[in-house]
Amino acid sequence: MKTQLRQFIFQELIFHEAPDQFGDDEDLLDAGLDSMGIMRLIMFAEREFDVTLPDTQIEPDNVRTLNALERWILNARN
């Protein structure tokens, strides 16, 4: 899951010189993920992982890192 998220984020949303070296706990918001990017990321995750991510949970802490994103998606699935 993280591989797909990483690929989408760095191919579509954020420029990074070495995306493979971007840590799973590094801050995506500091790296440039903006509000429009967050919505596109959420829609990608919903489509790709067949999950609904509630509007009320669209918070910085849920999208701040790859690990947080993965946790959010897995929780929403269960």
């Binding site: 420029f15 440039g32 509000s35 429009m36 967050i38 919505m39 959420i42 829609m43 509007d55």
Partner: protein, 466 residues
């Protein structure tokens, strides 16, 4: 030269991409109404004089690296292209005695006639004053979008200019990834979406139309200090979540306009905003427009409920992205390249009734940070933006956050937009953004009292140029 960089000779035409052509259509409409054209400005407020000779060297490097920076526009058959001239972009500079005078000079530059054949598509002005000065990057929209303007400013002051490069149009790259059927599907989706957007007659900030006589561009600004900016960001997070910061500003604007009373009162509000195809922080592509268009729409009834409005705009945005409407406009824009500017404008920008679709031109330039070295050694104390727009709507709101301070730049046409009305609107906008206590009762009070009074209710002094 970097081998990855396109090896262009000065004779090669650099074709417009579909979004360049769309902005060219708008430029033609603006010129057709007797105004200079689709020019945009990005202004840095500097506390000292930057290294001007280094700046000129960097401008020379810009023309060498990016031939379209100094080019003339040519029509070839039905399509348009930039023809590089290699002509030097000379830094234009002057000195003013005060910041007010320097701000006035910015507007004078913008209001000068700018025939396409005689004007460089991109110019840089240093306007020195008693507090340092203003650095104005002034360009014509088909050349690059606002994000490109920011990247270009970064190039001009970067210690590593080599990391900036030209690359193909992102719209072309996206279109190349899709099958013919996917493109047709998107095209039909975009057409349906456009028809839906057109069904809601838009309130406008002026009753004047293209025949409204000679117009000049004016500017009013609001700057919020870091504490106020932080509060606004927190409120945006509260009402529109991490995914909808721009929507908070757009919603506040709709409510402010509804409270003050729209001069052309119709069924609702429609505010187009750009969806930028560039990745955040990417140093390339610099030139060209890499945009698609999204619409924030609400009926006047929806605007009356603050929380409900933000929830509506967020849901609308979510649905737009879910339906891939953010991409749907690309095939439409691609086909639009073969239409004449007038026909294209009618199809994409006007409502079925012939009225103007946009209640306002809006752009959120985002959050910019300038380090302690500032711009070529000069600390940056602020920034603002300005642009020409069509009439109607006759007004543009350009939003940017520089070093933690939010600035709202209202460009507007005078006399089409009434200034006392705009002052009241800006005051209401302050109150909406900051959610000051009177926000909850504002709509009720002002509907009851008509236009309401000119009391600001906001906390930020106007910082404007009449």
């Amino acid at each position: 030269m970097d081998s990855k960089r396109p090896q262009l000779t000065q004779a090669e035409p650099l074709w417009f991409n579909p979004a360049d052509y769309f902005t060219f259509v708008l430029d033609q409409e603006i010129r057709g109404a007797g105004m200079p054209g689709g020019y945009c400005g990005f202004v840095l407020e500097l506390e000292e004089v930057p290294d001007l000779s280094r700046l000129q060297q960097r401008l020379d490097l810009l023309v060498e690296r990016f031939p379209r920076a100094s080019a003339r526009l040519e029509q070839r058959g039905k399509r348009y292209a930039w023809m590089p001239t290699g002509r030097r972009i000379a830094l234009e500079w002057q000195t003013c005695s005060s910041r007010e005078e320097a701000l006035q000079e910015v507007l004078e530059i913008f209001n000068r006639p700018a025939p396409m054949a005689e004007t460089l598509p991109l110019r840089l002005h240093w306007i020195g004053d008693d507090r340092g000065g203003l650095l104005l990057l002034n360009w014509i929209h088909p050349l690059l979008d606002a994000r490109g303007g920011k990247i270009l400013m970064d190039f001009l002051c970067s210690a590593e200019p080599d990391k900036f490069g030209e690359s193909p149009a992102l719209i072309g790259e996206k279109l190349a990834q899709w099958s013919l059927w996917k493109k047709i599907g998107f095209f039909l989706k975009a057409k349906r979406h456009n028809a839906e957007a057109n069904a809601l007659e838009s309130c406008l900030p002026t009753q004047a139309d293209e025949g409204g006589g000679r117009q000049s561009l004016r500017l009013k600004m609001r700057r919020f200090d870091p504490q106020q900016t932080q509060r606004i960001n927190q409120l945006a997070l509260k009402y529109t979540g991490a995914a909808g910061k721009s929507l908070y500003t757009i919603g506040c604007f709709m409510r402010a306009m509804e409270q003050v009373g729209p001069p052309a009162a119709k069924a609702g509000y429609c505010i187009p905003y750009a969806f930028n195809l560039r990745r955040q922080n990417a140093p390339t592509p610099v030139f060209g427009n890499h945009l698609s268009c999204l619409f924030a729409r609400a009926t006047r009834e929806q605007v009356t409920q603050r929380q409900g409005l933000f929830a509506h705009l967020l849901e609308q945005y979510r649905q737009t992205v879910r339906d891939e409407l953010d991409y749907a406009y690309l095939p439409l824009m691609w086909l639009g390249q073969w239409l004449s500017p007038a026909r294209y404008a009618r199809l994409l920008r006007k409502q079925h009734s012939g009225g103007e679709l946009s209640s306002l031109w809006f752009s959120d330039i985002g959050d910019l940070r300038f380090g302690p070295d500032g711009f070529l050694g000069a600390p940056v104390s602020g920034m603002f933006h300005l642009c020409w727009m069509t009439l109607p709507p006759g007004m543009a709101l350009l939003v940017g956050q520089g070093n933690g301070q939010l600035t709202l730049s209202f460009s507007y046409l005078h006399p089409a937009v009434e200034e006392s009305w705009l002052e009241r609107l800006m005051a209401r906008m302050d109150a909406e953004l900051l959610e000051t206590p009177e926000v909850g009762c504002a709509l009720h009070t002002e509907h009851a009292q008509g236009m309401g009074d000119a009391d600001s209710g906001g906390q930020c002094p106007p910082y404007g140029v009449p």
